[in-house]
Symmetry: none
Subunit: 402 residues, 2 copies
Amino acid sequence: MIGEKELVKLVKSSDTKIVLIVMDGVGDIPDKSGKTALEQAKTPNMDKLAAEGNLGFTLPIDWGITPGSGPSHLALFGYDPLEHEIGRGVLEALGIGLKLGPNDLAARANFATRDDKGIITDRRAGRISSEVNQKLCEKLSRNLEAIDGVTVKVYPGKEHRFVAVFSGEGLYDNLMDADPEETGKMEKFVEALDEKSARSADIANKFIKEVQQVLKDDHPANTCLLRGLAKAPGITGFGDLFGLRACAIASYPMYKGLSRLVGMEVIEGLNTLEDEVEELKKQYNNYDFFYLHVKKTDSYGEDGNRPSKVKTIEEFDKLVPGITGLKPDVICITSDHSTPTDIKGHSWHPNPILIKGPHMRKDGACAFDESECLKGAYGTMFSKDVMQILMAQAGRLKKFGA
Amino acid sequence: MIGEKELVKLVKSSDTKIVLIVMDGVGDIPDKSGKTALEQAKTPNMDKLAAEGNLGFTLPIDWGITPGSGPSHLALFGYDPLEHEIGRGVLEALGIGLKLGPNDLAARANFATRDDKGIITDRRAGRISSEVNQKLCEKLSRNLEAIDGVTVKVYPGKEHRFVAVFSGEGLYDNLMDADPEETGKMEKFVEALDEKSARSADIANKFIKEVQQVLKDDHPANTCLLRGLAKAPGITGFGDLFGLRACAIASYPMYKGLSRLVGMEVIEGLNTLEDEVEELKKQYNNYDFFYLHVKKTDSYGEDGNRPSKVKTIEEFDKLVPGITGLKPDVICITSDHSTPTDIKGHSWHPNPILIKGPHMRKDGACAFDESECLKGAYGTMFSKDVMQILMAQAGRLKKFGA
């Protein structure tokens, strides 16, 4: 497979436009009806696109591997998800809307309960309310000082969860979690897995001790666990890699965060699917590439709510003419991963994909669903390859070799 | 994927014969007729082979990547085209029929016009005629001396183009072009991108100065530009890799050059398709492997001439019984890359492939065209994998592991 280094040399400029629509988790398996969500939904507009375009399936990581949202989106954005790992701490930070720079090390943290002997008696501090969490974070913010020249900021999440961001020179993230993983066990501290990460472990552990000092009278939230300590991966910007002015149209923080991480411009303040499509129209002349994210297909998949997943697909289908009406040169509709309602979670099943560009082969597919994707021209490919096809169809890649 | 090192260990000898037919650029996309060139052409003989064999598609480099003829042929010959890059200078030299050895560094050169101050006022010396070019090359040949122990030979091409070949020990090719790329700019000299290539850059630049000296009164052709300076890549010979006595049956210089580069025996003096098939019959007992090249399917693709592309396919189909009549153990018909007539150039679309050997699966395909290839047993694979299948069908590969 071609790598980023070779690919970037092939990129040429053009005035073509590409729209990548990610219907999060839309891929499914048949439920008791014998049909998938896409097969149940009435989608005349996507079916028309499917008849004109080419279909197939994508694998985000590999056969049988269920991806998280981070790697599955990175792959669709053209990055090898096995080369660019996004730590949990970074994802958690992106998820609450934080922007991370190259000197930032992020951790997902839990407020927890510790007894006098250092035993963790509750890993979630009795699931304190988000309001209490916010007050504790404010108290920590007032009292925390820089540790060895590294500043620490804490940001409240829901219930007992918060994010800690360490900022300074020379931080490394080859670190083990500070989490005993079970209640009733002795507290753990961060351990470094290599020499250069030792100072970061030391700073993280000084932070835990400071938290214990500041919160000594705040039982049950009198300590914290730190997990998934990670820096944002060094990624070649999407604009530098593909020569595209890219715009992310998404309403959920984590997807906006991921887009920002790869260097897309992120539109803020969008809530509904209608908002998103209207924004696409508004921004259409300002960018070459649009990533549009449909969240609820995944949420209803996670809930096991097939009727609402089907309804979301149908609602989106009604908005498709508003997008195709803009006449983008290349349009792609796919999911980042499957979220079958019978599984109530992400799965490893390949994602249905539809690509329509100016230079299509003919295939036997005439509707956008998993059964028709089996007749598609693409067979099963890796999600990472999708951007190459979109770029080729958009006339934005030179010949390889002579 | 298995690499050359592992593959070579699996090779075993046999008296089976393999015929690989490359219909250059035959892959296409539907034009206004709704059909591809293969779908329009009447090809009863290839269709019969398709019904007996298995079909599918190949990717020369990767999804969305349009290959040049060099890498796409290397891939079909079983070499990873991303590992073995062929420089422009080498291809240009092969294209005019030169044979390059391990001590040769080749450059594609232009005669150009330079003013007193070193400004390049015409990068093509007013597109001088091929006759003038030939005389200038003869003049250079009479006057050029070895530079630091390295001999330089020049070979005329068409109009202002020629090839310069530097021959000597210790030449390296991590070099930038000596070409300002635009008229009206100051002349450029070759720059080395690493230390070991510095001497080669120096020799190339002394050559440019010598050319300027010899041609000082030959305005407009009073200097030269050097581009794509490259050595032939170090390649494990086709015979060593696959244990095959291989014969290349092609009429165009570049394909003969590529075949020679990988160590095939090249038959000279062939012009027509009929010549090629007759030569195959004549040589049939002398070799184990035959590469037969059909050029015009690509040429007519590049011209956007669908009727002539279809006619070439039909003409070749009439010659197929002459090949199958030899009863080769394995026969493969494919393209190196697609050259759709609507695109008038190479494209990234996967290549139709047909393989017929003694141990076939059954698939749904019963004619040789892109729509039938969708029903094929191979799905979409990399071109590099084809040789492995041909070798396996020919009983020329041992078991991997026990």
